[in-house]
Symmetry: C2
């Protein structure tokens, strides 16, 4: 028996548009034609416009009155600000996780960590990133704070487009792995303060931003590199 259809059309549409933006098929700053998207998705303008309003309040799209919608342009400052925020949220997630996490969850994270280390040793960047992200998400989940998770994933979504436009130098990479070693140790000790501290200072995110910042001017629009 297939899932009962109980999702509204505007939610589907929002998902699809979100994908298009993430994939870069709709480029930053590009005008979003209601007509074109309606035809593409085979829906009327009503649910599409509702979806655009949702995406706007998620910060993925900007709506100009009487002038339609554009894909939100990312500036270096915005990305930098967003990562500062995400770092603070991760810090909080670490503190909370240490209070709430179960032994089983810790073990699961340790296993992910081991797996990540293997990818690091073999210098497999993409699998490394995938597991890396899973670790951070696991800690976030272990925090037990759903509002935090919701906020974090929104922020993460906003900057997803620039995520893969980075080159990881070897020394940065080594540092990141070291940070992770420390994280695991703090987590095992359930030392919330320390884990929070490590996560806040964990350079990974900030570095990639810095590397981008080197490429273009400060309040310049950010060009998105597709994978």
């Amino acid at each position: 028996m297939s899932k009962i259809q109980n999702r509204s059309l505007y939610l589907e549409v929002a998902d699809r548009v979100r994908e298009l933006i993430e994939q870069g098929e709709l480029a930053p700053g590009e005008r979003i034609s209601e007509k074109a998207l309606c035809e593409r998705f085979g829906v009327s303008r009503t649910p599409l416009r509702e979806a655009l309003k949702v995406l706007a309040s998620e910060g993925l799209v900007e709506l100009l009155t009487n002038r339609g919608a554009r894909v939100m342009r990312l500036t270096v400052k915005m990305v930098k600000d967003t990562y500062d925020l995400m770092a603070a949220l991760e810090g909080l997630s670490g503190e909370l996780a240490c209070q709430n996490i179960s032994d089983e969850e810790i073990e699961a994270i340790c296993r992910l960590h081991e797996e990540m280390l293997r990818h690091y040793q073999e210098r497999n960047l993409m699998p490394y990133f995938r597991i890396n992200q899973q670790i951070h998400e696991s800690i976030l989940a272990a925090s037990g704070n759903e509002v935090l998770q919701e906020m974090y994933s929104n922020l993460s979504q906003r900057v997803k487009r620039v995520r893969y436009s980075k080159k990881m130098t070897d020394s940065f990479w080594r540092q990141a792995v070291q940070d992770h070693e420390n994280m695991i140790s703090a987590l095992k000790a359930r030392d919330g303060k320390r884990l929070g501290q490590i996560l806040r200072e964990h350079l990974c995110n900030k570095l990639e931003v810095a590397s981008i910042a080197g490429m273009i001017e400060d309040d310049e629009e950010l060009s998105v590199v597709n994978s």
Copy 2:
């Protein structure tokens, strides 16, 4: 010459509904009748429904497919989680503010602080809260991080309804004022780490939640006390 009208109807409507929720005129869990609100505002269903979608993604309203909208119910856990988050964001705002704040801005905050002290000495609760909030907002603004400000004000909006349902005991109040003294000193010294720390631990918010939590069960719905 008055400002040319360039705001969309759905934005106006969203503002008005937000007010109704904040004021408690629309109670938590209450069903929102599209028809009733349309008549009240004199608009058609289209802009109203768009507004509801925005409010839903702000977390003020929940939409049940085919079953209309309800004012989001707050549970003690949600409020607790939200305050934890806000504390972390305030901490970040303190750290960033110390990096960016101008001498003039510091002076303005000091003046607010003096004013707040006067209200404290005279035990004028509401004016005290008003200035208190202005101080926190000023620090937030001085952080220069607009994404942070946006997130914070969203979170703050969500829990505004329970804001006034607190009783401030004298010892808590004294502690809060002491925290503020320390904040000012850290700010003057531009000691970001310390200011961040103080703000994160600043009990004000957490206390009021704790006091509420004492009143009702943990995942119970929160009853809102109107002023």
